[in-house]
Subunit: 344 residues, 3 copies
C-alpha cells in the first residue's frame, strides 16, 4: 500500500534525454472559444467568427493560440513546476497546426538541460514540450526552464547540460497554417486599417485600456486550463496570504488588450522569449504596450509577419521597461517577444 | 506611421445618414446558452431545452434574445459609446429572426439624428443598429441614443435632426418566429400555469428574489459580449474608483429574475423603451418587479403577446418608480418596456 | 387574477405517493464539460478527453456524474427545498446511464415519507428523485430528505411514513455503463498508476491541495445548475449577511481535489450517504481526504469498484471527523459515501 499522492519531481529526478508523458488529455470545443472571450477582452476576428476565418482560407475559427498554449502548459505543471521555485523563461515556441473544435490535446516533454545551482539546494531544468492532437501531430512546441528544489541536498550534482537556444525563432521557420490567405482580408470587420507595412521597426504602441483583475477571474481561467498549482488557488500556500496569478493569465490579458492598435496581428505563430518580470495579484490593473521588433514575409498570399514585444504593466507610464540598474521596473509584469501573422 | 489606436468618435464625427460597419463578427454556439445560465438565474424553458423548443415548433432552442442583443450591442461600443457621457435610451427594438447555434452575428448602424447641447461641449446622437447573421438577414434592430463629447468645442453645431420615434412598437409589427406554435405548450415543464389571459392590464408582480452582484461576474458577462468600455473594467477610469456595471447586465438579471411570476413570457420580440435610471455597482442586490402594460394577439397558433414594464431596483419596496418630483427614485436601476410572446 | 409567484410547498403540502414533475428541462452540451473544468480543479481523464473515453469503450466523454446530479437536483429546488429549514441527507443514489452532449434532462420526484416534528411547526419529507433524458430513460435516481416548515401550524400531523433506506447501495446493484472496458486503460494518460487492488480497506488519503472559495465562483456554479435558492445569492436572505454555499459546490470541489490520489476513481456510480456537516462560506479554503470503505468487482472487463468516504474540510488536520461527543468537528464541511468505478 504505497503512498497514493505524488509530491512532484525534484531537481535530482530530471535527466537530460528523459521523456515525460503528461497526464489528462483534453478535448476542446467551441466552449473554449466563448470562455476565452469571457475571461479576456479578446476581439481578434479570426478567433471570433467562423465566417471571418473562412474568408481567410481556414475551415473554421481555430482555438485561440494562447489558449492552445495554456491547455498544453497546464498538463505539464504536475510534472515540471510543482516544486519549482521560479518560472525562469520561455523560448523557441512555434505553433505548427491550428487546433480545431473537437480536437483532443495531450503533452509530452523532453528534458534538454540541467544545471545545479552553486547553493546545492536547487537547480535549473530545461524542457522542450510538445502539444499533440488526436492524430499524434504536434500542434505546438516550446522550451521552458524553471528552477526546481532538490529533495536530497546531499545528492551529487549532475553533469551540467545547457541547451543551445536561439534568441529568436527565425522568420523562415515560422509555420503558416495551410490555406491561410489574407489577400481578401476585410479590414472593416477586423476593426483596424493597419497592414503589416504600416508598422515600422521601433514603433511603440500604447494599448490604452486596463483591466482590474479579480481573484475569481484568474482562478476560473487557470483552472480552465487544468493548471492546478496551489499558489494560484490556496491563500495558505504563501506566507503573505496572497494568491499568485498564473503568468499565462497575464499573457492572455495583455494579448487581448493589444487588439487596440494591433487588431490585425491575427495569429500567434512564434514566441521567441518570455519573462514574468514581477508577480501579479488580484487588484492589479493590467495595461499593455507593444514595440515592433522586426518584420518578415511569408509564402502565403497576403500574409506577412510582425515580431512584437508585448509588455504588461500594472501602472506607470508606458514604454518604460528597465531601471538604470538594468532590472525590470517593479510595475512591469510581462516582457514577451512573439511573431504574429498579419495582412501585408 | 500613423497612430495605431483609435480614440473613438466624437460628436462632430457623426452625420445623419452615415453608415457605420462595426467590427469583430462573432460566431455563437451552445456555450453561450450555458453561459447565460451561469451568469443569470435564467430558467425560461424555451431557452433551456432543445426538446421544449421543438415542442413549440422551433428547430432547436435559439440564443436567448437578450444575449443576441448584447452581442450586437457590444460590437457598437467602440464606434458609438466610447466617448459617451451617458446612455440615454433605447426604442423601437424588434427581434426579427431567431439566432441559432452556429450563426455568426455582425452589426451595422445608421446615424439617424444629431442635436448639439446648448453648452456646445457635447451633443446627442441617435443611431439605428441592425444585427445581421451570416446570410445577411437582419436578426434584430433597435434605436439607441447617447450623449457624446465634442473633441473640438469650436466646431460648428450641425443642423438638428431628431428622429420620429414611436412610443411603442405596435403589436401588429411584432415578428413571431416562423413555426412558433404554443397550442401544445407544456405548462408543467415551463414552470407556471399562467396564460396570457390570466394577466390583467395594470397587474403588478413582485418577482421576490434578489441577487447580490460581484465584480467578477459583471466583468465576465460584459466581456463575453465583447463590450470593452473601460468604465466596466478599470478602477482608475472613474474618480471614485468604482466600476460601473454594464446596463445590459442589469437587464438580463432582471429578465431572469422575472421568471418567478412570468415563466411563460418566453420570447422577447420587442423593446419599446429602456432607461438605466441609476448606476449599478458591485455589492448591489438586484431585485425586479413587473407591470402589465398591454395584451395582444398574434396570427401564430396559441401565441399571444404581453407588453410589460420590467423594473430593476437595488432595494426599497416594489412598485415604486418615481418620486414626487417625477424623477426615478434613487434605488431604481432600470425601467424597461418590452413585448413578450406567451401562450394564449 | 391569482397571485403569479409561488411561495413554494410547505410541510402539509406533501403526501406519500405524490408525484411532482419539476419544471425547466435543460439540454446539456460540451460547454458544461468545459465549465466543470473552469469551476473545479477537475482532471479525471474520462471526463476530459473524448479519445480517452473511447479507449475505455464509451462513444464520447459523458457529462461529469456530479454535474448530471447538480442539473437534476437544481430542478427540484423550487418544489422541494424552497422552504426547507435543513437539507438532512442523501441516500441510495445510482447513476444508471451516461449523459451525452445534446441530451435533455428533466426531473420527477415521488414523496416517499413524511414525519412531523414534535414541535408541530415543521416536519421531515423524504423524496425519491429521478433524472430522465429525452428518451424518458432514467439517468440517475436518489433519495433526499429535508426539514420543511409548516405554513399552517394548526394543520393536523399526517400519518408518519418513514422509508426503509439501505445503509449503502449493494455492489451488485451498481450499474456499469454499457461498453465500459478498462482492460486497455492508459495509466500514464490518466495520471496515476494505482489500480483498485492497490487500495486497502481502511486506507486513508490526504488529497493535499486546497482551494479558497470566492463568492463569484460559487454563485456562477450554482446558477449554472439552475439552482435559484435565495440563500446562495442574496446577502439579505440571512441575518448575518453571508451567502451560504450550495452543498453540491463543496461536493464537486472535494471530488475534483480527490484526483490527487484517486485519479483512477473515474466514474461515480453510487452515492450511499451524504451529509453537509457544517455550512461553507466564501473565504473558506476547501481541502479533502478520503477513506477506502469497501472494494467490489463488476462484470465489465477490467472494471472494479471502490467504496469511498470523501470528507471536505476548511482546515484542521486530515482524517479527523467527529469530536468526543460524536458530532462532526466544526471544520468538517462534507461527509460523503460513494462508489466509483476503477481499473482492476
Amino acid at each position: 500500500m504505497a503512498a497514493k499522492t505524488s509530491a512532484g519531481r525534484f531537481f535530482e529526478d530530471y535527466t537530460p534525454g528523459q521523456i515525460i508523458t503528461h497526464a489528462v488529455p483534453r478535448t476542446v470545443g467551441t466552449a473554449e472559444r466563448a470562455l476565452n472571450h469571457m475571461l479576456y477582452p479578446a476581439r481578434h476576428a479570426l478567433y471570433s467568427s467562423d465566417e471571418f476565418a473562412r474568408s481567410c482560407g481556414l475551415r473554421a475559427s481555430p482555438l485561440d493560440d494562447m489558449v492552445a498554449f495554456h491547455v498544453v502548459f497546464g498538463k505539464t505543471v504536475p510534472d515540471i513546476s510543482l516544486n519549482a521555485v521560479a518560472n525562469l523563461g520561455y523560448a523557441g515556441a512555434r505553433w505548427l497546426l491550428p487546433v480545431w473544435p473537437g480536437d483532443t490535446l495531450r503533452a509530452v516533454s523532453e528534458v534538454i538541460g540541467v544545471k545545479e545551482n552553486s547553493s546545492g539546494t536547487s537547480g535549473v531544468v530545461w524542457v522542450r514540450t510538445r502539444g499533440l492532437n488526436q492524430h499524434d501531430e504536434t500542434v505546438l512546441e516550446y522550451v521552458r526552464w524553471v528552477m526546481v528544489r532538490k529533495k536530497d541536498t546531499s545528492a551529487p550534482a549532475p553533469e551540467t547540460v545547457i541547451p543551445d537556444l536561439a534568441a529568436a525563432v527565425p522568420a523562415d521557420r515560422l509555420v503558416v497554417p495551410e490555406g491561410l490567405d489574407f489577400s481578401r482580408y476585410d479590414f472593416d470587420l477586423a476593426g483596424e486599417p493597419h497592414r503589416r507595412g504600416d508598422y515600422a521597426v521601433g514603433e511603440k504602441i500604447d494599448h490604452v485600456d486596463g483591466v482590474t483583475i479579480e481573484e475569481a477571474e484568474h482562478m476560473l481561467a487557470t483552472r480552465l486550463w487544468q493548471n492546478t498549482a496551489k499558489v494560484h488557488f490556496d491563500v495558505s500556500a504563501r506566507p503573505d496570504g496572497t494568491r499568485l496569478i498564473y503568468g499565462g493569465h497575464v499573457i492572455s490579458m495583455a494579448r487581448a488588450l493589444s487588439f487596440n492598435g494591433l487588431a490585425n496581428a491575427q495569429m500567434v505563430v512564434g514566441l521567441n522569449a518570455g519573462v514574468h518580470a514581477n508577480p501579479c495579484v488580484a487588484g492589479d490593473t493590467v495595461r499593455a504596450w507593444s514595440e515592433v521588433l522586426d518584420r518578415a514575409e511569408t509564402a502565403a498570399p497576403g500574409v506577412g509577419a510582425l515580431r512584437l514585444r508585448l509588455v504588461a504593466t500594472r501602472g506607470g507610464p508606458p514604454f518604460e521597461l528597465r531601471g538604470e540598474d538594468g532590472k525590470y521596473l517593479p510595475d512591469v509584469l510581462l516582457d514577451l517577444d512573439y511573431w504574429a501573422l498579419m495582412p501585408m
